[in-house]
Symmetry: C2
Subunit: 460 residues, 2 copies
């Protein structure tokens, strides 16, 4: 009976150009992830026993130690660390933010942006001006901006179907806004939290002051408070609305940290690598559950599934827990640097850094449309039963991007459903309870499946 | 510039056989749903101001009145009620459940299954026997079962990719288990909650006692407590483990209720209908947010989007808020009965009753593979940018199934991502806070898009 079923399956599959063997392997991978999966319990430990793990912190070091010991316990062929120096920014005391409307002071939820300097000890108070873009800032220029707190308030555009695009379209306000505003004499910057969700949570995230740039204090404000401030500003009352904030964050000297790497060594081409990874560091406001505890636990799960099923890859497969994605990217840089230095050949790298939500597929960075077409023709039917078959052009992940120094490395982003990601991203809501076990496991299975297909067939 | 872009778009599209006009219409539909959508605020009202609305309850009547008045306010071409008599089951006092292990009594979370009778006023206590299937029940027979409380404990099979299948595979324990166990002399039934989630929430749901069958009290037990009871039973201690439960539910005389219907009348074929719907009734343990507040609010939103964009359908489009899906299906029966009686022609019906989660596509019930192939060839590229293009064979929805009396009506299920649905389904967790605004809106847009395509082209 079983043999007949397999035969029918195999005939059926030959029509679609897929290999019956691959169909069975993918099914085994999914069964292992869904029945015996360990990513969820591992994530619970990372979130609840270790918690927030910003680069340079004691918790980040705990996370390094624990993930290394866990992979040792799993008995992967190699488990090792890659040392790198990382920025060590600390938030300090809980921030205070106030809208000052004449004699009325309204407390509002804010948090310092990562890498921001502190305000003066007594806080910073100045008239506030609302802007929607960096263009507007440049147009108004120093005569208007000087001495003010700039309030960047361009919201997410809800029309993007995948929320990462809305984040990309609004992100310049946070990434570059503070340094740009400083050029025109602003004394501080408040940025609308990068989320579509209307609530009381400020969302942190890094801001970039290029080498030599003037640094001014910068904070994120919750979307509800941003709307409130904007409404007050529209009333254009005199005296003008002011903003007050106080934060005591500091940038300490660089600290020593590590990428944590597990490997199953290839049977045929041990010096050719497929990397699958996420980042181990996280922001400090919550547990870094979806950003990016899920990614690192899925990467580790890929190796665990391989080992548990006794699958022997031709190429070496590495699970990499990158350090310092959030505020520096030093781990990703180090990984590529050492790969080059050691003469490694990198076939492909997959990063999961869009949350541990239901799989939709994968995105392929800078791949020719012919090769993308070929990937779709060869593999989308295999991934279709798992609804993980949306294979499109798109970004990969910032930790693996430095591997683009290798001409032939294919960079791939794991594509999780994006709808809920920015509701919690970089905020106090990014906790274990907001991760769904099955969604996490299905993602690990999808990643393992793609690793398997790349290992077997390469990317033509 | 715009004209050039459109030309390029149109050339591009002709390759894929889609119409440039349709591309633009779908984009407008999505923009309207995402920028001006009202489904989320309407759902909030339904959940928070009305709340649980089990058939026959005062809250169900409130929901009828409010949805009718809301559709009146929207100014749809017709808004009307369809009267139907519905079962009126009430839960009564909060249930009590206890595992009795010798002199030790362990309180466990249970809830009566819908349509179950009460226990005796003092409760029901008996030795308990764990079974995994109805087959096992039949094999053991009366000699073993008589006088016992049967504990059905077959868990969800996690290997199913879409959780509805796991529900289907485990569901006979709840739907038929109590009536079957009664045949062999069981005095009560405890069913493992139909969810993969391991927690302390009992999940209710209807159980069916066919006409004339013996009725015995039946309750759902939380999955954690089910595991605990199972573990104790495995110790096989003497005296045997007993179970005690007490519930005071009642089946009152049938009550008068209504389907609530809004319509935009077709410009060319007003007597030919496309129905889009969900069910207005809900279980009584929470707010019926995902089951099925989201479905009814999405159905209403389809008409609102049509009206707001000034779209004039050729056929009449109806949003139907069905009554009594949960414990009788009388509203669905009535809708089909009146459709037949009134000589209506029904082209297609779409039901959203799998939660308001991110769209994956649609499932088509009993459609030939040729027609399914043609649907995919014609429409999947149009839905692809919205990641709502998984168009497969599958079920539709129990409210629209009675329309299968019409030979040519296509029955369609809106296919939302299923991973989180049974975590909350029929439990106290089914509240507004567990609905994501964008996921809900994207679903409404996907449903509107399919209605538009069916209205324009039919299903070939």
């Amino acid at each position: 009976m079983k043999a007949v079923k397999l035969l029918v399956l195999s005939l059926f599959l030959s029509v679609f150009g897929a290999h019956a063997q691959d169909v069975l392997v993918l099914r085994k991978i999914y069964d292992e992830a869904l029945v015996n999966g360990e990513s969820y319990q591992n994530l619970r430990y990372l979130c609840k026993e270790i918690g927030p793990r910003l680069s340079g912190s004691a918790h980040a070091q705990k996370a390094v130690d624990w993930t290394k010991s866990l992979m040792d316990k799993y008995g992967f062929d190699k488990v090792f660390l890659q040392e790198c120096m990382v920025p060590h920014w600390v938030r300090g005391e809980k921030e205070i933010g106030k809208i000052i409307d004449g004699k009325k002071e309204i407390n509002v939820p804010i948090c310092a942006l990562g890498m921001s300097p502190a305000t003066p000890r007594e806080g910073l108070r100045a008239p506030v001006i609302e802007l929607k873009s960096l263009d507007e800032l440049a147009k108004l220029g120093e005569s208007v901006i000087k001495g003010k707190i700039v309030f960047f308030n361009r919201p997410f555009d809800p029309r993007y179907i995948e929320t990462g695009r809305a984040y990309g379209a609004a992100g310049d306000q946070r990434f570059r806004g503070p340094a740009e505003a400083a050029k025109y004499g602003a004394v501080g910057v408040i940025v609308r939290s990068l989320t579509e969700s209307l609530d009381d949570y400020p969302h942190t995230g890094t801001t970039v002051f290029p080498e030599g740039a003037k640094k001014i204090p910068a904070a994120a404000i919750s979307t509800k408070a941003a709307n409130q401030l904007s409404a007050l500003l529209k009333l254009k009352k005199l005296p003008v609305i002011q903003f007050y904030f106080k934060q005591s964050c500091q940038l300490l000297p660089d600290a020593k940290s590590y990428n944590v790497i597990g490997e199953i060594t290839g049977t045929e081409k041990p010096n050719e690598f497929i990397t699958v990874g996420g980042h181990l560091d996280s922001w400090d406001l919550a547990e870094g559950a979806h950003d990016d505890g899920t990614g690192v636990m899925q990467a580790m799960e890929v190796l665990r599934i391989y080992k548990s099923l006794g699958m022997k890859p031709k190429h070496s497969i590495r699970a990499v827990m990158f350090m310092n994605e959030e505020n520096g990217g030093r781990g990703g840089d180090k990984y590529a640097e050492l790969a080059k230095q050691n003469g490694e050949i990198h076939l492909a790298a997959i990063e999961s850094d869009g949350g541990g939500f239901t799989p939709r597929g994968f995105t392929f960075q800078d791949l020719s449309s012919e090769r993308l077409k070929s990937i779709n023709e060869n593999w989308s039917n295999l991934l279709r039963p798992y609804l993980a078959d949306h294979l499109d052009a798109g970004g990969s992940g910032s930790d693996i991007e430095p591997l683009s120094v290798f001409e032939n490395t294919i960079l791939i982003g794991y594509r999780a459903d994006s709808q809920r990601y920015f509701d919690i991203h970089h905020s106090a809501k990014d906790v274990f309870e907001n991760v769904n076990k099955r969604e996490l496991e299905l993602g690990a299975a999808a990643m393992t499946s793609l690793v398997y297909l790349i290992d077997q067939y390469g990317i033509k």
